[in-house]
């Protein structure tokens, strides 16, 4: 298991690109990602999550975006179309299904573009075969996953079960709590995913509706600054444009027949993808200021979770505090790479660890249980699913009940 990378305060090496300081055709200045976030003034805006996705992409120097409608990401995908109409992107079109869209994204990425797309729920699962292919082909495509239910019966409402399916695809998987996170993660995600030592796809996930359709205050960096463009030759693999050696080049070689290769090639290939995800820690810690956020994590009772469940927990902690019950919080920002060491350290003093989740499987609790010692401390829940909301009061109730504190409901 990995050791913790301590790199707080470091700058990510993002932009040694020649175009730094030059202007693009829209008059935006190619700017180092550190300067966009830490030097430029951030202005508050009151926007929905979908509008925030658009604003992030406006500043992201994206080459290609491919769209397909599925609630709740349709709006974001359509808004990116408006950016294309305004000439912020080189290519944009609607594909015929998520499986095809992810293939079209792969083609654009193979050809050397920075690529962004969005998906949600059943669409994510239809696209699924492409994700390990992206990772194995070292394509740093970004997909924004606006999570919703995937099970039958149909639900278009928030549910984070689909993230569970992404965990072993070889992609980076980040989980935004709010629209602010979403904005930051989209822009920073490109930079981390495109590092030559990382260079794997990234899924920036958020809970559909709770983030995409919610209007919230978000600090945006100036519209005149944009990310430095992707450099397809600063890559661990050959760009497929016949401009770079070797010319006798297949992406990816059909490492299947044992008379050509040792099977350890295939195994090593998979290990290399995993290694690439691990290497992202260094850059992610520098840009996101750590893979987790902690608030009073020295307390005996802790809530550890990600996404909207963090927001609901913040309110629950407020309510508990009013009753004199002190609870700490650990927010997990990246699910892949998983912050094993960070969580182990942050939960060292906890006697009770609650993991509220917006899915029936409780996959986040399983991840945490497999990480920390004395894992009987972990209480899996509360859970909601299929679009149900998780009122803070329910978290409060469940924590109290588990701790044996009487409440109006549990004493009924």
């Amino acid at each position: 298991m990995n050791k913790q990378v301590d790199l707080k305060g470091k700058r990510v090496i993002a932009s040694k690109h020649v175009k730094l300081g030059q202007k693009n055709r829209k008059g935006q200045t190619y700017t180092d990602v550190n300067d966009i976030f830490y030097k430029a003034e951030q202005t508050p805006n009151f926007l929905t999550g979908s509008e925030v996705i658009k604003e992030a992409i406006r500043r992201a120097s994206v080459g290609t975006s491919v769209a397909y409608p599925i609630t709740p990401q349709s709006e974001a995908a359509a808004l990116i179309g408006e950016l294309y109409a305004e000439d912020y992107l080189d290519e944009y079109f609607r594909g015929e299904s998520e499986f095809a869209v992810m293939g079209q994204c792969a083609g654009a990425s193979f050809g050397g573009h920075r690529v962004f797309t969005t998906t949600a729920g059943p669409g994510t699962l239809r696209a699924m075969e492409n994700f390990p292919m992206w990772a194995g082909s070292r394509l740093p495509i970004q997909v924004c996953v606006t999570c919703r239910g995937i099970n039958s019966p149909l639900s278009i409402q928030p549910d984070t079960l689909e993230m569970h399916y992404l965990l072993e695809t070889g992609m980076l998987v980040w989980h935004a709590e709010t629209a602010q996170d979403l904005y930051d993660y989209i822009l920073k995600g490109f930079i981390v995913a495109e590092q030559p030592d990382v260079h794997v796809p990234i899924a920036v996930c958020c809970d559909g509706f709770f983030v995409t359709h919610t209007k919230d205050t978000v600090d945006l960096s100036p519209e005149e600054l944009c990310l430095t463009p992707y450099n397809p030759y600063e890559s661990p693999v050959t760009c497929m444009d016949m401009e770079i050696a070797p010319y006798r080049m297949m992406r990816d070689p059909f490492v299947m027949k044992s008379n050509y290769i040792n099977y350890s090639t295939h195994a090593s290939w998979q290990q290399e993808i995993k290694a690439a995800v691990e290497r992202s820690r260094k850059h992610t810690i520098a840009l996101l200021d750590g893979l987790i956020d902690e608030h009073n994590s020295d307390r005996e009772i802790l809530i550890v979770t990600s996404g909207t469940a963090v927001s609901q927990s913040r309110e629950a902690i407020r309510l508990l505090e009013e009753e004199g019950i002190k609870v700490g919080l650990v927010k997990i920002k990246t699910v892949r790479p998983f912050p094993y060491e960070e969580i182990k350290r942050a939960t060292k003093h906890a006697k009770h660890i609650f993991v509220p989740e917006f899915n029936v499987a409780g996959w986040m609790a399983r991840e945490i249980k497999s990480t920390i010692p004395d894992n009987e401390r972990v209480y899996c829940g509360p859970h909601v699913a299929g679009g149900m909301t998780m009122p803070s009061e329910v978290i409060v109730e469940e924590i109290k009940t588990h701790l044996g504190i009487k409440t109006a409901q549990n004493s009924r």
Partner: protein
Amino acid sequence: MSKEKIQICEDLADIMPPEYHKLVESATFGNQDRGWKDIGSSTELIEQHSLCAGCPESIAFRYILASLPAPEDTVFVGSTGCTSLVFPHVAVHNIHSLFGNQNAIASGLKRTLKSRFPDVEKDVVVLAGDGATVDIGLDMTMQSWFRQEKFTTICFDNELYANTGGQESGLMQKGFVAKMAPKGKNFEKVRLPEIAREAGCAYVALLTVSKPNRVEQVIKNAVLIAREVGPTFVQLYTPCILEIGKQSMEGLDEMKDSESIGGRFVQKEYISDEAQKLLDSIKIETKERKKAAKEAAKKPVNA
């Protein structure tokens, strides 16, 4: 890119194995008039293949590679199947990804190359089997035609799934007994050329690979029309001799039989008006270029 890029660094040239020297020295990269006759001498094509002995697909591969107008600026997209065993040996960038999404990959790739290199013709050519093109990938094949994506789709039609051992495919003829069609296939061979035409292809050709000059002309037409006009489709009969119970030497006869009158692969071509105009103008240009070259050769060097 230009063919000048495909060079070996002088200081390390002497340690490069001979095949790479051959690749550089005798390749037809950049030669406008390259064609099937170069297959004996040009090692950018395929030196070795890993298909069954006598497989018509291997010769189809060689004809196609020799006929590309600009291999130094061409990228192939393949799919799962026998073809993917050949691709690693081809001196053109090529992508293997999944089964069925080859035309989706090619759509994204072609658009990106066009956007990154607006002044260079970068050709994208899809080369996949009938299972990938018609069965698992039909929606993506057709949707790329609907969208008028400017690349060439080539289907190696062997009328079954060869790589997995001879199962029924949509392009199999009716009545043929195969794995997964134990009582014989009970519907007609899918009429893909007609579908291609209706779906918006500017150029469609159906033929066998028995005659190299025909293959050369069709491939050149398809790639050049795809550059200027719109999507193009070429369906080539490359029988799987193994799965139809023939010997290594019998592939050619099988193709000749099937293309004779009344056969399934009598050569068919559909050319849109716009595509025909383009072909006519190319014909005139080529004629004039060759004539000028001839006259230049006649003149004394110091004149």
